[in-house]
């Protein structure tokens, strides 16, 4: 490929690509995101490739390995275009039938269609599936049309035309103005206005400036950034080049989590292609502007999601944050002005430049514009990635898109914001989701984790879970965070093991406030949210623990396993599988658990086919 030297060359290339494509041509798009990889989608891709050859459809049908399609619950997802026929849970054995029926004979393979579990309604087309039709997929939607390893796919959907517009039609200050007017705010968690951040960095003194993409997605249960990087890496690259042009930077870094090998691979390929085409390197598209990007793999430390810790890590140092009285826009990486944005923030940039500030600011609420991607996980029917306009209610996300709670269980809470966020109770389900509202109720937007919990989730246990996570991930530099989290964990551990005292809740709240007010960085400043929000909204559950009961039946010290005599037929399965030989009973007669020996591992309950084992 020859380096593109000017605008005309790029437009010519785009025309050639688009004209070379027949929109009516059949294409089988198979989701190859990490979630579907775990479902062995690669075997599905292989099966389709060989079936197409066998059934002599080669040359008439394309196969596209796409990034994450979001509906992970139903993976591997396979969509047949141009019709958009949506098949779910497709296995390699199904390839033959899809090719012979749908592709050759235009017939639907009924058994692979999605059936809404609540209504029993069957859906043929992707656009009609309820999981999708309340979403607004301005970012994730592109994943369907792009094979991440093919820059042509991105160029065909207007990729790099925002860059072209910025470089040739706008001054850097104008780019910043558009981003400011759009109201775009940081998607990494805190929601700082992106345009303001860029302006600070542009105005900062210094010849060398850096732009950085934070792809160190660390919130457990959140994988939005990974799916963007894996599925459409060029959109992030394009956003970064535009940002660099606006700020006046020639060097960029993507700091990506080491647990994301596919993202690193696809991004490396994409960077190579972008360089080859002249979107990166010297004199980009003949504009005179030069910029290049390097990848830095993270080392797996949650605190490195914090900007100063991340920058220390890029410098090859231990990822400890520093106090930010001097902003990183002035002194960041190697003490030079640096601008850091999250993956999702960067991905929004080309769209805003191309479609205009008004287009973007028309989506969302007064102060939170655009869409947000959430990873909707936990006790929810439709696990997956959802992209919704800001301002949508939690109820709509959980019930209309997420399909509600499995097994007819009762909703208890939804946790947003990862370890920095809080648990939101049922009475607040009509809350519109935006930066301000989530903070007002004691949680936060965070990077987009949304974990749904049901009646069997213990809120004391959840608070303990996050404290344990944070204790491990706290870098230990400042005392309130290092010691405070440890003590909060001790107190909640006491509560969950029946050793709690009535003053504990007050102490816990007091300690949480201290950690919040006096910690050095964002990790500590928000570490109390899981505790404070659960104490605020689920105080009765904490009090029940103080009375020696765990209502959800989770905290081991407060529960006992027993066998319902009337339900047990004495099959002996539990007795044989009990690791402690704690179950006694003669064959065909009701069994019993010796509570002194029982370690409450739950295996008997899991294995019993008659639901005879229960918890008190």
């Amino acid at each position: 490929m020859k380096r593109i030297k000017n605008r005309d060359d790029l437009e010519k290339l785009r025309r050639t690509i688009v004209e070379g494509r027949d929109p009516k041509r059949t294409c089988i798009a198979i989701c190859a995101g990490t979630g579907c990889q775990a479902y062995e989608c690669e075997k599905v891709v292989e099966a389709f490739t060989s079936e197409i050859e066998k059934q002599k459809m080669k040359g008439k049908t394309d196969i596209r390995r796409t990034g994450c399609r979001g509906f992970c619950q139903r993976g591997p997802i396979t969509v047949v275009y141009p019709e958009g026929i949506f098949y779910q849970r497709v296995k390699s054995e199904d390839a033959k039938e899809i090719v012979s029926e749908t592709i050759m004979n235009k017939r639907i393979v009924d058994r692979l269609l999605y059936v809404d579990p609540s209504t029993g309604q069957k859906f043929v087309f992707e656009k009609d599936v309820p999981f999708y039709n309340k979403q607004m997929r301005i970012l994730l939607g592109h994943n369907a049309y792009v094979d991440a390893t093919k820059i042509e796919d991105y160029i065909a959907i207007d990729g790099y035309s925002a860059l072209e517009k910025a470089l040739f039609e706008m001054k850097p200050e104008q780019v910043i103005d558009v981003i400011k007017q759009s109201g775009l705010r940081g998607r990494g968690g805190a929601g700082f206005p992106t345009g303001d951040k860029w302006e600070m960095c542009r105005k900062a003194n210094g010849d060398v400036k850096y732009v950085i993409c934070n792809a160190d997605e660390g919130d457990p249960g959140a994988y939005m950034n990974r799916s963007l990087l894996e599925g459409n890496p060029h959109s992030i690259i394009e956003g970064m080049i535009i940002g660099a042009y606006a700020i006046g930077s020639n060097e960029g870094y993507v700091y990506v989590r080491y647990e994301y090998p596919l993202a690193v691979k696809n991004l490396t390929t994409a960077l190579g292609q972008a360089r080859e085409h002249g979107f990166l390197g010297k004199d980009i598209l003949g504009s005179g502007f030069s910029f290049d990007i390097e990848i830095r793999r993270g080392g797996g430390a949650f605190v490195c999601g914090e900007s100063t810790a991340l920058m220390a890590s890029i410098e090859g140092k231990v990822g400890e944050p520093r106090s930010k009285y001097v902003h990183t826009a002035e002194k960041g990486l190697w003490n030079r002005p640096s601008n850091l944005n999250n993956v999702e923030t960067w991905a929004n940039v080309p769209l805003i430049i191309l479609k205009g500030a008004n287009w973007f600011s028309n989506i969302g609420t007064e102060k939170s514009k655009g869409t947000k991607i959430f990873s909707l996980v936990g006790k929810i029917n439709n696990t997956g990635l959802v992209e919704v306009p800001m301002g949508i209610t939690l109820r709509e996300i959980i019930y209309d898109i997420g399909g509600g709670i499995p097994d007819g269980k009762k909703f208890k809470a939804v946790q947003t914001g990862g370890p920095s966020g809080g648990c939101i109770p049922e009475k607040l389900l009509n809350l519109p989701v935006d930066f301000e509202r989530l903070t007002e109720v004691g949680s936060m937007m965070g990077s987009g984790g949304m974990i749904v919990m049901d009646e069997n989730t213990c809120m004391v246990d959840v608070a303990k879970y996050f404290l344990k996570f944070l204790l491990e991930e706290s870098c230990g530099k400042c005392t309130p965070c290092r010691e405070g989290i440890k003590r909060m964990l001790e107190i909640s551990d006491n509560i969950s093991s029946g050793r709690g005292e009535s003053e504990d809740l007050k102490l816990l709240e007091e300690l949480a406030t201290v950690v919040k007010d006096f910690s050095l960085c964002g990790l500590g400043q928000t570490a109390s949210n899981p505790v404070l929000s659960t104490v605020q909204y689920f105080r009765d559950e904490y009090e029940a623990h103080l009375d020696g009961k765990c209502p959800a039946g989770v905290c081991k010290a407060l529960i006992e396993y027993f066998i319902h005599e009337d339900k047990c037929n004495g099959c002996g399965l539990c007795r044989k599988n009990c690791p402690e030989n704690a179950i006694i009973g003669e064959p065909k007669k009701p069994h019993a658990i010796v509570s002194e020996k029982c370690i409450k591992c739950g295996i008997c309950r899991e294995i019993c086919k008659f639901e005879a084992v229960a918890i008190t």
Binding site: G35, A38, E259, G300, S313, E606
Partner: protein, 169 residues
């Protein structure tokens, strides 16, 4: 004891240290590439042997404490060799609320090691991860490259047996 250690390090010195030298050279002995160098070294050796860390420190001209600091700060690095099969139990929030703790406990019981440890026969290393990002499968465990979704405590024993058998076959 000391003698054995010296002997080991000497062997490693002759046989293996060339690889880490090459890695360091790849990065032009750039100090800011410390993390990347250690990542590549770990990919090469399977873990970070003491001698390798010493070599990195010497060649980059930085104190050993800085190398050790980085190697112990980040989760990605291990200072002991890993077993033949790596068992990873996901403890992400989604997996947690769906019952990951009981999966981990049962795995620890069956393998007779705590998370982070390696079985005496060197077959299994047990680790926990904060999120694998395939939450729809949760609770998830990964053995080698195999993802096992909807994990339950009762699925642990057969899974381990399968891999133990594999090692013999």
């Amino acid at each position: 004891m000391n003698e054995t250690r010296d002997k080991n390090s000497e062997t490693l010195g002759i046989v293996e240290l060339g690889k880490v030298d090459a890695i360091i050279n790849n990065y032009g002995s750039d100090k800011s590439s410390l993390i990347a160098i250690l990542q590549d070294a770990q990919a090469e050796y399977g873990y970070l042997p003491q001698e390798v860390m010493r070599r990195v420190a010497t060649n980059l001209g930085i104190p050993l404490i800085q190398v050790f600091g980085v190697a112990t700060f980040f989760r990605a690095f291990r200072l002991t060799p890993k077993g033949r099969f790596l068992v990873r139990v996901c403890l992400g929030t989604a997996c947690h609320v769906r019952g990951a703790p009981s999966v981990l406990e049962e795995t620890e019981r069956r393998l007779k090691v705590k998370a982070g440890g390696t079985t005496d026969d060197g077959l299994f290393t047990l680790e926990t991860v904060n999120c694998l990002g395939c939450c729809a499968l949760g609770p998830v465990a990964v053995v080698g490259d195999e993802y096992v979704g909807q994990m339950k405590a009762t699925k642990v024993a057969p899974l381990i047996k399968k891999y133990a058998k594999k090692s013999k076959g």
